[in-house]
């Protein structure tokens, strides 16, 4: 079974999203936030083509947008927002529309893309970037051995959840349920 990079983000946000996606699929309501996020991504791409690479502290490099990546070895696939190919290697850039600091779910999504890029280019990826659209802030994320191991473990946990078809407990952070598109399917959250 091939999982999507987005599944890692969703699993960390709330494991029930994986259950609703793979085990008992339900009709997901597209929220205004999702539509707005998509529009902002298109705008980011348009502007990014005209910019230098100074935000990433790079002197040279070629930007590549919306690259589909797949690794049968990892059992993982996804479409990377952007990556920069330089003479020293390639660096993934994951674009997020969030006003707060990047969350752990964003970090591990980036690590997963880095692992996919490594397979695609056959070169190690040392770090990647999280670009936050509202603040235009760029966060450098080091791709550490521990972070790679964590992603692998998470992929196993997600696959295990799907295989066992067990309904997982909801996230312990009640605030996440407030504007969750799956909320109406959970009977036990406030």
């Amino acid at each position: 079974m091939t999982l999507k990079v987005g599944d890692i983000k969703q699993y960390l946000y709330c494991p029930r999203i994986i259950y609703y996606t793979y085990v008992a699929p339900v009709d997901r309501k597209v929220t205004p936030k999702m539509v707005y996020g998509k529009e902002e991504h298109i705008e980011f791409e348009r502007l990014e083509r005209r910019r230098t690479l100074r935000a990433y502290r790079l002197a040279e490099g070629e930007r590549r947008f919306r690259t589909p990546l797949e690794s049968p070895r990892l059992g993982l696939r996804g479409v990377l927002d952007m990556h920069v190919v330089t003479s020293l290697g390639c660096l993934p850039v994951e674009v997020k529309y969030t006003a707060s600091r990047p969350g752990l779910n964003h970090k591990y999504q980036l690590v997963a893309y880095a692992m996919l890029l490594e397979d695609a280019y056959g070169k190690p990826v040392r770090h990647g970037y999280l670009y936050l659209i509202p603040s235009k802030n760029v966060y450098v994320v080091e791709i550490t051995p521990n972070a790679r191991a964590f992603v692998r473990r998470m992929l196993l946990q997600i696959a295990d959840l799907i295989r066992r078809e067990t309904f997982p407990p909801a996230t312990r952070r009640a605030g996440r349920c407030v504007d969750c598109e799956y909320r109406r399917f959970c009977g036990d959250v406030v």
Partner: protein, 306 residues
């Protein structure tokens, strides 16, 4: 054994320390956020750090037996050996600090003489259940540690004294022996025992040290992670570094290897997951079953395979 070599210090200062500061740690995984998920405990089931971090039994049945079935197997020889050698080390470090305060800097020669004459800790209480040959071997090892540590401490005091002509006792202790041994910590904020004790803690750059006498294992890093989280919860300052000190005896020689590491997001999450899983196992009294491959030296082996 807790003092770093020049190479280790270089690795720490030029490698790990800047990396730990650059890399950062997600705020939700800092100990001071103990009141919110994911750090806030789910179950009212205080655990010791070694109970969360220990994964010698593949199914954690040793923990289940001890906490749910109330089985009290005898400590294994390896456990007795570890406790005795820890105690032998603490004895020298604490005695050295005591001698500095007792004699003062002006009587430094008296400090050295008293240290030279320091009687090694009696390890008899730890050898009761050991075979005579094992007990003798343990006595030898404790003596090696005693001699090694004493020599290093004397060298360190001498070095500091030659550098600082106006130094006082308290500063000498802090510079020559910059570790707190057996630091007591209250882990109840994180659903851990209120009576925790970390092997050693350095305060110049907050770092948790843990001494091991067995084979290096990946999960040993959970031990330093647990103490780091507790320290952050109590004192509200970041603790980013851990150091596992592996001591090994080759004949009469003591070999020391150190695993310096950043206490990163992944280790913190691993620790929290282990805490929640194990607390649930005990709270719900779930017997995880006997592991497929048990270690014959496991102190619960007889209970699981009777």
């Amino acid at each position: 054994m807790y003092f770093l070599t020049d190479e280790e210090r270089k690795h720490l200062l030029k490698g790990l320390l800047p990396r730990s500061r650059d890399q950062g740690v997600a705020d939700e995984l800092r100990g001071w956020n103990w009141s919110q998920p994911p750090l806030s405990p789910v179950y009212d089931m205080p655990l010791a750090i070694y109970e969360v971090a220990g994964a010698y039994c593949p199914t954690n049945r040793d923990l289940y037996l001890r906490r749910v079935e109330r089985v009290r197997p005898k400590p294994s020889p390896a456990m007795a050996r570890g406790s005795a050698l820890h105690a032998a080390l603490v004895h020298v470090l604490v005695a050295a600090k005591r001698l500095i305060y007792a004699h003062g800097v002006d009587n430094y020669q008296e400090i050295f003489r008293s240290l030279q004459e320091l009687v090694p800790l009696s390890i008899e209480p730890y050898t009761r259940d050991l075979a005579p040959t094992e007990a003798e071997s343990l006595r030898q090892k404790a003596l090696i540690i005693h001699d090694f540590e004493r020599a290093r401490i004397i060298a360190r005091i001498q070095e500091i004294l030659t550098k600082h002509p106006y130094i006082g006792e308290d500063s000498l202790v802090s510079l020559a022996l910059p570790v707190v041994v057996e630091q007591k910590l209250d882990g109840s904020f994180l659903g851990l025992s209120a009576n925790l004790s970390t092997d050693a803690f350095t305060f110049c750059e907050p770092m948790i040290l843990d001494l091991k006498f067995g084979e290096p294992r990946k999960f040993h890093r959970l031990q330093t992670t647990g103490y780091a989280l507790v320290m952050e919860a109590i004192y509200e300052f970041p603790v980013n570094l851990g150091c596992l000190v592996y001591a090994e005896f080759r004949g009469n020689r003591l070999i020391i290897k150190k695993d310096l590491h950043v206490i990163d997001d992944e280790l913190r999450q691993w620790f929290i997951e282990a805490r929640d899983e194990k607390a649930r196992m005990i709270y719900e009294e779930i017997d995880p079953g006997v592991a497929e491959e048990c270690h014959p030296a496991c102190y619960c082996y007889q209970v699981c395979h009777r």
